[in-house]
Amino acid sequence: MANLPWLDEVLRCLAKHHLPVTYIQRFTEELSDHLEDFQEDLMDAKSDVVSRLGNPATVAQAAAVSYRQRSFLGRHPTALLLVFGVLPIVWMMILGLLSCFLVMMAMAGTDDFLQQLVLRDKTSPPGTFTLTAIRWSLSVFSVMIPAALVSMVHCRLAERLVLGRKWMAVCCFVLAILAVLPYWCVLVKTGPQGDYSLLVGVGVSIPGLFSGWHFSFSVLQVVQLLVPLAVGGWFWWRTRAASNHAVVAAR
């Protein structure tokens, strides 16, 4: 094979752009053919590989730019901000509100579910475990699952279109900020009626500010924050692993 050091350098640079393995293989095969032709047909004795074929980093950059331009988002960088900075917020809010509504409907529709579940009898206070279970259910279905889904879809999109890991990071950070905000409280009045109400809040809650409010800030909100970041971290690691695999496979 012709001029391995130059080709190896191109391969390394291509891997940094996180291009798909199949594309890297194809590109390097063609460059290898080209180098063989070039070496067989040295018309200009002074020509060297870099001056004729280009700097490896420039060639890899051209390949990455050209590959990105295949998609609409790659051709319109300003749309990226909309898709990865704004759209996740919209998806998350729609999915979150819908899920929250469905969970509440499910609770309300099961023959006074809360009444039976929370207050085992109308005069005793609710069990802490039950309250925690309700808050976690709401958090999981209304925040964690939507955040995970939206971040996965957008990270996958960024991965497929070779848009770079920075857009994965943008999307996951935006979702993390959005996910940390909602908190869940069950306000219980242990009066003769034994009634209760569910409070859904947005913002940073301060535990113990109001007596009788059961906050879950310390655990739930932190977990909500971590879900999209974990998804982003997994995709980050995945693209890095894929790049390493691409170098090995193309060799």
Partner: protein, 120 residues
């Protein structure tokens, strides 16, 4: 000092036009195409030869070209051909390019005001 091999920014889209133009005449593989560009332009337009392949791949993704690995002269090579969509696209781009070149040429030759005046 080494000569500057970078072509001006306004040549964006020119490699695509040249590639389509040459491939409409006959199918070629990458190295052959690069040599054809070099010969046709008498070395005026120089691209890093490695940068031609990304352009070819993009044109193929846009279905303006097709590629197929074939054996030519005992060597396996990827041959590029223009599709019917590519031919139509090239006709349109070629006409637009000639109009633009004509218009720019008019301006550079002095346009409606004759020779460019010197500022006093």
């Amino acid at each position: 000092m080494r000569p500057n091999r970078t072509n001006p920014d306004f040549l964006n889209g020119v490699p695509e036009l040249l590639i389509l133009s040459l491939l409409t005449r006959r199918p070629m593989y990458g190295y052959e195409l690069v040599q054809a560009i070099r010969r046709s332009t008498q070395g005026t337009l120089e691209f890093g030869e490695g940068c031609v392949y990304p352009v070819l791949h993009r044109l193929e993704a846009e279905e303006l070209l097709t590629s197929k690995r074939e054996t030519i002269g005992g060597r396996s090579r990827v041959i590029y051909r223009v599709t019917s969509k590519g031919s139509k696209y090239f006709s349109g781009t070629d006409a637009a390019w000639r109009r633009i070149v004509g218009a720019v040429e008019l301006v550079l030759q002095g346009g409606e005001h004759g020779q460019p005046a010197m500022a006093r």
